[in-house]
């Protein structure tokens, strides 16, 4: 049973096609992530599903309704954290939960809800004095007030420090265990990999691939790789000498291995190059490798795409 059905959804802003005919579905009880860099169309997509924006084309159904036409009724069944959640600066989390409970006409113990999102220790602090992580948790608490069937979390951990982010993941995992259907957007690969049952990778308004993280790696991955720290010159040398598929990314030279013998050949070629290298390891493709392959770069902390040639780590540092 699907909680969300999207078919050939389209949305343009002037000349820009923000969402370019995407289709996917989210099953009841699963955590589904839209993963992609800034400007991929994630927020536009999720806001259309939340009923905050009107689509230009395609069909959508959220809990069986059209969110643009039936938004007011639908919102009683949804829990939503918009991107960059904010609240009245001089209100406390407990007051905020009480306020939302009254608006939704439901009876709640504010402290119980704040405990659920691990914010009970800050229940009387003004919103303006909460940390970034605490603010996001309040957003989540407010999204839970009406005991929603479906949760939309738009970049729930953007801008948080790693500790606060992991903290938030724990809360989201807890909600998943309770059986909530969750759709989230993120530009953090690890977040998508850790939290989601299924992921759709989005770029330039299109979904490039989707499935469980394991399915995506299986489908687009390239098996085992040998990696050393080194510079681009080393990558070029090994490629020329061995004819193997050699890539350079972020200070790492990576060689695709077809069988064990390739490892010996690659390693002796690396040694013969006379160029500096260190940190030998072999590994399988991660979701990040697939992402880099499909999107053409990795995502930086801020959510922008970093192309492989943008920044090469000086080999001197690799040698230290």
């Amino acid at each position: 049973m699907s909680a969300i059905e999207v078919s050939t959804l389209e949305k343009s802003y002037g000349q820009l096609k923000a969402v370019d005919g995407i289709s996917f579905s989210v099953l009841k009880g699963e955590v589904f992530s839209l993963l992609g860099p800034n400007g991929a169309g994630k927020t536009t997509t999720i806001e259309i599903l939340e009923g905050l924006r009107q689509r230009d084309g395609g069909q959508i159904s959220v809990l069986g309704a059209d969110p643009w036409k039936k938004g007011y009724q639908l919102h009683r069944k949804l829990g939503i954290i918009p991107q960059g959640f904010t609240f009245f600066p001089k209100a406390t989390p407990r007051e905020a939960v009480t306020y939302y409970s009254t608006l939704f006409g439901v009876k709640n113990d504010p402290d119980a809800i704040l405990r659920k999102v691990i914010l009970d220790d800050a229940s009387s602090i003004y919103f303006e004095n909460l940390s970034g992580g605490q603010k996001q948790k309040l957003g989540l608490a407010l999204a839970l007030v009406n005991n929603p069937e479906l949760l939309f979390l738009d970049e729930p951990t953007t801008g948080l420090d790693p500790q606060a982010r992991r903290n938030m993941w724990d809360v989201i995992r807890g909600l998943e265990k309770e059986g909530h259907t969750i759709m989230l957007t993120t530009h953090y690969l690890e977040e998508a990999e850790v939290l989601s049952d299924r992921v759709a990778i989005m770029n330039h308004g299109r979904i490039i691939t989707d499935g469980t993280p394991a399915e995506i790696i299986e489908k687009h991955g390239s098996g085992e790789r040998l990696e050393v720290r080194g510079d681009e010159k080393l990558a070029d040398y090994v490629r020329e000498k061995t004819g193997f598929d050699v890539t350079y990314h972020n200070g790492f030279v990576s060689v695709r291995l077809r069988d064990k013998r390739d490892a010996v050949i690659a390693l002796s070629s690396i040694d013969q190059s006379g160029l500096p290298w260190k940190d030998l390891k072999t590994r399988h493709d991660s979701l990040e490798d697939i992402f880099v392959k499909l999107v053409g770069g990795s995502i930086e902390e801020g959510g922008t795409i970093k192309k492989p040639s943008d920044k090469s780590e000086p080999i001197a540092r690799a040698n230290n």
Binding site: H75, P89, F104
Partner: protein
């Protein structure tokens, strides 16, 4: 359907935030009181009995004599007649006098024929009693106009005195500053809130709850009405206690204290909604607020201003609010107040409907 429960929940959160931030309370309650103390102290000197007014009656007809009589027969002004042969403005200069009134030659004839005829008031803008003379002359004129309509049927009512009380500057200042407060607190606050909430997407968030736009706006209006009433009591009490202001209290004051905030909350909302950014909203808000703040009779009666500025004042909504309060609290002229009120109701209805219509929770 609008829900009172949601309006009150929103009101509670808003009032908490408002009172906790202190700045809003300062500007809506404390600041107007500071203005009363300041202006009250500055202008509290000149109140030594009736003001001497030099009147030159070039007409001499019955209506002009009645006019002079009315101007003389009250405790605000006493009349000294000036000979017809004199040039009045030269005469005033020569006698270092500040207040003069010229009744033109054809006054009685035009008045009886129902044609527009003006008396000219000479005054010194720097003199604090000038506005009082203006108001008194205006009151006499309007009384004569009222009686002019009925004199054909009811002879003998001509001797009725105009309100026998001397108006002081503070009497005008209190309703003016109540108007000032009813204008500034909702305007500045709503312009800021609406543009800020649009920018931070707080409106978008609220749109995800069952709260409606009308409910949200209603809770703001309720708060500014309450604030207006509180500031009304504070200001009148201080004005009466410290400066001996003479004010009438009538039931008619209440609708003004309700309709004023309703209008300016809606107007502030409109400005915030049509502006692209918080900064441009502030600029547009100031462009609308400042002329009203100074030209609507807040700090001094509008009649003291040059004619072209008086014309400007007549297109400013705040003018009708303050004029209405003046009519009730100073002149006890409920008829004129009712006209002002009706006008404010129409303007407010328009502003409210536009504010709700242009108020966007979400984007297309």
């Amino acid at each position: 359907m609008a829900s009172l429960r949601r309006v009150l929940a929103d009101l509670k959160v808003f009032v908490r935030g408002y009172t906790r931030s202190k700045i809003g309370l300062f500007f809506s309650l404390v600041f107007p009181i500071i203005l009363i103390l300041l202006f009250g102290a500055i202008f509290s000197g000149g109140n030594g009995g009736p003001i001497k007014v030099y009147v030159q009656n070039q007409d001499g007809g019955t209506a002009s004599i009645q006019f002079v009589k009315l101007l003389n027969n009250n405790s605000t002004t006493t009349v000294t007649l000036v000979d017809k042969a004199q040039d009045l403005s030269q005469y005033l200069l020569a006698h270092s006098a500040d207040q003069g009134v010229l009744i033109p030659q054809n006054f009685t004839q035009d008045f009886r024929n129902g044609q527009l005829v003006n008396v000219t008031v000479f005054s010194n803008p720097a003199d604090t009693s000038s506005p009082i003379v203006f108001e008194t002359v205006s009151a006499v004129v309007s009384q004569m106009n009222l009686q002019g309509a009925t004199v054909l049927y009811h002879a003998g009512v001509l001797e009725q005195n105009i309100k026998s009380q001397s108006y002081k500057y503070i009497d005008f200042l209190i309703p003016g500053l109540i108007g000032f407060s009813v204008l500034t607190s909702p305007m500045f606050s709503l312009v800021n809130i609406s543009s800020e909430y649009k920018k931070t997407k707080l409106f978008k968030q609220l749109s995800l709850t069952p709260l409606t736009k009308t409910e949200w706006l209603t809770s703001k209006i309720i708060w500014y009405v309450v604030l207006g009433i509180i500031s009304f009591f504070l200001m009148t009490q201080i004005g009466v206690a410290l400066f001996g202001a003479h004010l009438d209290y009538a039931f008619m004051i209440i609708p003004f204290l309700v309709i004023g905030p309703l209008f300016f909350v809606s107007l502030g909302m409109l400005v915030g909604m049509v502006s692209k950014s918080v900064e441009s909203a502030a600029v547009v808000g100031n462009l609308i607020t400042f002329p009203m703040m100074f030209l609507s009779g807040t700090f001094f009666p509008v009649t003291q201003m040059p004619m072209y500025l008086q014309n400007v004042a007549h297109v400013l909504p705040l003018f009708y609010l303050i004029d209405g309060l003046n009519q009730v609290m100073i002149f006890s002229n409920l008829g004129q107040a009712l006209f002002d009120l009706e006008l404010m109701i129409v303007l407010s209805a328009i502003a409210f409907v536009f504010a709700v219509a242009l108020f966007k929770w979400r984007e297309d």
